[in-house]
């Protein structure tokens, strides 16, 4: 076994942007390479699933898992990497809340396949459809089978940490790498299991420099419908549906700074059960009309409500995330210890794994059954025991 901590990164149902964001670390990547022994990273190195299967359980120290779970290959890898990893990180919006691939949850599989193989843009006279397995010349060819819904990583296996963003900002990735490094050195402790890394605890508005006033929205408009956007005033107050108020901070409010509304890629703030529900509740609350007819007219300004409120979070939402999202909401709640700080939040860590800290040495899938943390002031911080002896 190598003396360096072992790192893996994997790319399931995602666009690959997260891998690129990591590569964007530039010189810091060298630091990663020197600190970690990269054992599995299909985007940058050759590796076979069999190699991973051959590893002992919990032999990878940390796995950054990108992408949602759309097919049985994704699911297999999720379980495999869960078993082999001490810390499994849902990395990026796809793994943590489904992101753009998750929008397919609005369609049935037949509709999805039709869109790919049988619409007017497709030249497919024989109506060929993919088959999961095909025997040709005595060889069985297999492709993964699509799952009925795209699921987030934590709807499939327990997840230790989440790094949000589409993709996560490179600077934030650096912070995470630094934190993990320090934890390995014993100079920092990791936050409780279930925490979000590389982001803040409030919302984009917290980082946004625009001036904000009491909100009353008389009309929603698209950016393109506005001749001049006030450079200093809150976009929402200008009628532009900006998702900033409901979106976790950490990005530095880059979009609003560029006069583009926040679209919500950093996901919900701490403790929010359903991102879209929060956002639509907020928007509707400040609609400046009391009569149903007038309210309807104002809301007509939101052209695609589901797209507006669930662009990134549909697969983790209560409804289109399906039963898993609901059940997770239950588990999350049931596990919130009354009297602990987590219970003081109205919706404790819903949709994530329970907030007890991962103990690297005993971490394993069997430990992820929902359980209550001991009552106490804080869930215990994880003790990250450096693998292969203390550094230096």
């Amino acid at each position: 076994m190598s003396a360096k901590p072992r790192l893996a990164m994997y790319w399931a149902a995602a666009c690959g942007g997260c891998d690129i964001a990591v590569l964007n670390l530039g010189e810091a990547l060298v630091e990663v390479g020197s600190r970690f022994d990269v054992v599995f990273w299909p985007a940058v190195m050759d590796a076979k699933y069999a190699d991973v299967e051959a590893m002992p359980d919990a032999s990878i120290d940390i796995t950054l898992f990108c992408g949602g779970i759309r097919n049985d290959e994704n699911e297999h890898l999720a379980h495999l990497l869960r078993a082999k990893s001490k810390i499994l990180v849902a990395f990026g919006s796809c793994a943590s809340e489904g992101c753009i691939p998750g929008l397919a949850n609005l369609s049935t599989l037949d509709e999805i396949l039709d869109a790919s193989y049988a619409n007017e843009t497709t030249d497919n006279p024989d109506g060929v459809r993919p088959v999961p397995a095909w025997r040709e010349n005595g060889v069985t060819l297999r492709i993964p089978t699509l799952a009925p819904l795209l699921r987030t990583l934590d709807q499939v296996v327990p997840v230790d940490y989440t790094v949000p963003g589409c993709p996560p900002e490179t600077k934030r990735i650096e912070d995470v790498v630094e934190l993990v490094g320090k934890a390995l050195d014993g100079t920092a402790v990791l936050p409780p299991r279930g925490s979000v890394l590389g982001a803040g605890h409030s919302t984009v508005c917290d980082e946004c420099a625009r001036e904000r006033n009491v909100k009353k929205i008389g009309a929603f408009r698209r950016v393109t419908e506005i001749a001049t956007i006030d450079p200093t005033l809150c976009l929402l107050e200008q009628g532009i549906p900006c998702n900033g108020p409901a979106t976790r901070d950490g990005c530095g409010a880059l979009c609003p700074a560029a006069a583009a509304p926040c679209i919500g890629c950093y996901g919900p703030a701490d403790g929010v059960l359903d991102y879209g529900a929060r956002l639509m509740s907020a928007f509707a609350s400040v609609v400046d009309a009391d009569e149903p007819e007038r309210i309807e007219v104002i809301l007509d300004g939101i052209a695609d409500p589901v797209g507006q409120f669930y662009r990134f979070s549909l697969a983790s939402s209560l409804l289109r995330g399906g039963r898993e999202a609901m059940d997770q909401a239950h588990r999350g709640r049931a596990s919130a210890p009354v009297g602990s700080p987590a219970a003081n939040h109205p919706a404790p860590r819903l949709g994530r794994t329970p907030p007890s800290a991962p103990m690297l040495d005993v971490l394993g899938p069997q430990d992820h059954v929902p359980q209550r943390a001991p009552t106490g002031p804080e869930p215990p911080a994880p003790t990250l025991e450096p693998v292969g002896g203390p550094a230096r």
Partner: protein, 691 residues
Amino acid sequence: MSASNLPAQPDGARERIGVYVCHCGSNIAATVDVEAVRDWSAEHLGDRGVVVARDYKFMCASTGQELIEQDIKELGLTRVVVAACSPHMHEKTFRGACRRAGLNPYLCELVSIREQDSWVHTDRTAATAKAEAIVAGGVYRVAHSEALEPFRVPIDPATLVVGGGIAGISAALEIADAGFPVHLVEREPSIGGHMAQFDKTFPTLDCAACILTPRMVTAGMHQNITLHTWSEVTDVAGYVGNFTVTIKHRARYVDTALCTGCGICQEKCPSKVVDTRYEAGLGYRKGVYTPFPQAVPKYPVIDVENCIYFEKGTCGACKKLCPTGAIDFDQKDEEVTVKVGNIIIATGFELFDARRVEQYGYGRMPNVFTSLEFERMSNAAGPTAGRIVLRDGVTEPKAVGIVHCVGSRDRNYNNYCSAICCMQSLKFAHLVREHTDATVYEFYIDIRAPGKAFDEFYQRVMEEGSVFVRGRVAAISDTVRLPDEEAHQGRLIVSVEDTLAGVQRRIPVDMVILSSGLEPATDAQEVARRFGITCSADGWVIERHPKLDPVATMTEGVFAAGCALGPRDIPASVANGAAAAARVLARIQEGELALEPIRATVDQERCSGCRICNDLCPYSAIVYHGWEQVSEVNPALCQGCGVCIAACPAGAISGSGFSDVQILSQIDGLLTALGGAPPGPAVEEREAVPA
């Protein structure tokens, strides 16, 4: 030690919950299988912490409550769920039982299987299943309840009474007599209200002025009462116990420090104005005036719209002739600020405008009068010195028609019964008979005389010879139509169906009195908004509870009395005023007030200052700190509606008593008590105890 602080159970995982299912005699047990609910709870809610489930004939009886107290002490319960009647009925009862046993009362949940189940359903199986779901909802919810302490605010001993009619005067006197300061605000130059305009009061025929003016004088001279007449409340800030009220004193142009109320200015003023307010348009007043001789305070006001000095800059007779030099044309409106702990709204009513019922011809036909006009006419101190005459001022009527329900009980105007018009109309009949020889017709739909000695008065008016025609007047006309009516040319013809005879009648009279209904003041909605109280669509103030809390409003610290609440007579208004005063006094005596601790709080760490919530609170309880860019809820102003909690996009606002996790858990219980999770492991001490 409160039981909520008991050491955690060995597994550290579970509350110890007791479930108590009430039979309510047969009210619940006849439709819900109470024993089955008890057994089901013990068996299936164990994994949720239920350690004991009992049923009992009457949980609210002292023996039932003792059962709970005993279990809290002996079984160490940390949460209690009672399945019985509506929380509006007995929540306080069971919370009290828990408190006596040392358990924080907010850890007790009363779920209704009576009003919301056994009483509205007939299918026993379905009602029992629903009861089980309701109990599960309560158990799931209570596990996440928190121990709460009532919110305490100090009470400023001063009280604001808005409206100087008989209700407001009564309230003010009660409080002032008890030794506490009162600010009495009246829009008119004098207190007294509508009662000051009346001649007699039904059914006793007391002289209204004789019984009212002593009270006005007492109020005016009371050391604890500060009168703010010719004044209006312009702003109310703060909250129960601690209101800051801004009162605008309109300029009187009379220096009250110098004025002796001698009346010379009124006497010498050359400007004569029709008095539409006090004399209801039947009489005159001067440009400088007190509304009536017994006015309190005695100081006149100058009506700038009808003052020659203000119109043309000439005259100034009052100023020249005032012996004390009290006339001050340069006076300005003034605003004063007072601090009060409680507020009583007694803003009264306005008369329905009878012009709106066009077929009755008021305003078009001179000898159609309103009830208020007749009150002034019959008043010995009024414009006709008590003579009942036609509009020409001399002719006595030979026949008088009194029309009931004008603008009341009518979907075209007001749906409600104005309550006082029947008795008022009977009083009019009596007065007409007393003053004239006229035939009196009472046109009525129903005679509503439910008060003390009311029906006796009705009998008396019948015995006096008034003619009662049961039928709502269709129209009043001043032109004859049929040949045999020629003799009545120039009189008024009342068209009515005599519903007892089943025939249409056209009855000639000389005078018609329209018994107009009562309406809220035209600015009632605005007043309501200013004081943060609620009005019905009609405009009457809504009581906190129409039966059990009839003088409190939905807003803490704001009470209401008299016709502001709806049409009522003088004794009811006086009783209201005293009742509101009693409520206020009880609070002043206590020194502080315990409020339900259902409040919203903002987690400052998670608030990003987006300001979505800022305008959502009708009580202005949410304040924004611009420097820190965070919002905060003032718990004393917060009424606990929870709108901001549901609106906060960051999930930064949470609510005690109705937290997200409580509500979501209740939904879980109601819908999936056993849908997802299998029943938990058996708990040894868990038991279902038969009654």
